[in-house]
Symmetry: C3
Subunit: 160 residues, 3 copies
């Protein structure tokens, strides 16, 4: 049985979230194409078309550099994170341009669990994605993380 396009996106997001929540950050850049855009921004900035971003990476190499920096800083080692990712909105289906690229918008929330057990909502928002499904595995050509909240935690350098 062939996997449906929606199931392929659900599985992609499940693998992505698991990669971060399991702290396998070195694998995280592999979810992206070599020439990619990864941004974390706020809903306000995104709606106003402002380029300001908390994180802005334009290649897989920059994503790798970010992971290296995070490992050296170890700023987040005392916490765990838990993504809950919703259903991708692919509208109009199949929403493919001529190159077969898929545009999808997907809601998410991320919990942070402190070592003392306290759990809080760390971030919520939506992924504005462009996905290339034409490889052995689908990869993100673009993932813009549009956060609902405008007050970023200083630890937000973590991939979302």
């Amino acid at each position: 049985m062939r996997t449906s396009p929606l199931e392929a996106l659900l599985a992609l997001n499940a693998r992505y979230a698991s990669c971060i929540d399991d702290d396998r950050l070195e694998d995280w850049p592999e979810f992206f194409t070599d020439d990619c855009v990864y941004r974390i921004t706020t809903a306000e900035n995104h709606e106003q078309g402002l380029p300001a971003s908390v994180i802005y990476a334009r290649s897989k190499g920059m994503l790798r550099d970010r992971v290296s920096a995070l490992r050296e800083a170890s700023v987040y080692e005392r916490q765990r994170y838990r993504h809950v990712v919703g259903v991708p909105l692919v509208d109009p289906p199949p929403a493919q341009d001529d190159a077969g690229v898929i545009d999808a918008v997907t809601p998410f929330i991320v919990l942070r669990i402190m070592r003392d057990g306290a759990t809080a909502i760390f971030a919520s928002g939506r992924y504005v994605d462009r996905i290339d499904p034409n490889g052995q595995v689908p990869r993100f050509v673009q993932r813009i993380v549009v956060c609902d909240s405008c007050s970023f935690d200083t630890l937000l350098a973590l991939p979302l």
Copy 2:
């Protein structure tokens, strides 16, 4: 590839949530049939069969009126909302009556994000739905929003 019944419901809920969270409330009544039932109630009232509701609309026109009232009052303009909608429980599948109507129960949570960035759980519960899949797009014949919490926020006039 034809979309499966479950995928059609997942996509319907994704569009519904996006409509509210993106503040496109004027499009929200279009998710319902002309003669529809939309209620927000509590789990306690629902279990006891009580008709008491926080919101009770019996037609698409009443939903439109509600959106107009919300726009005039602007009570919620300072907040954002983020739905996370679970997987519809369609039991027994395909759970269709003779007219092809689908009954489904779907869990949800809604976060509220204040302008200062504080995020809290605004509501949780389940949608008790009856869906007519026989149109260009599926529509809700009935959506009863059964909230877990019995202490309603005064802002709950927002569609859930």
Copy 3:
């Protein structure tokens, strides 16, 4: 249209969560095979391979005993719970061994709603599952509930 393997898992988890959240605990053991493993443990213990568990049951009979004990104690009757279960990570698909058993890891969060309406995050984590799909309905051969938080609430005897 035949249900896809992923849809079957999504539906299984939806039924499981609904069973607990609707307080139909007597039905809960039926989600498991007669010889099953059900554990609740912490991420720390799980990663270190420690056998320590908050709950450890090795048969459907032990699960039934637990429900009976919960009913007698009535420790949680004043609260409601709401599961939000993510997409199962079945990797590599179809991840079936010779007997057709499916291994899946699935994120979850559980909210607790107190009778006064206050809602909090009760637990988050991942299900580490082994599922036998070869029956009238799929059943858990193993469900290890790996909680992110290490500070267990005394009420955690509730099934998760």
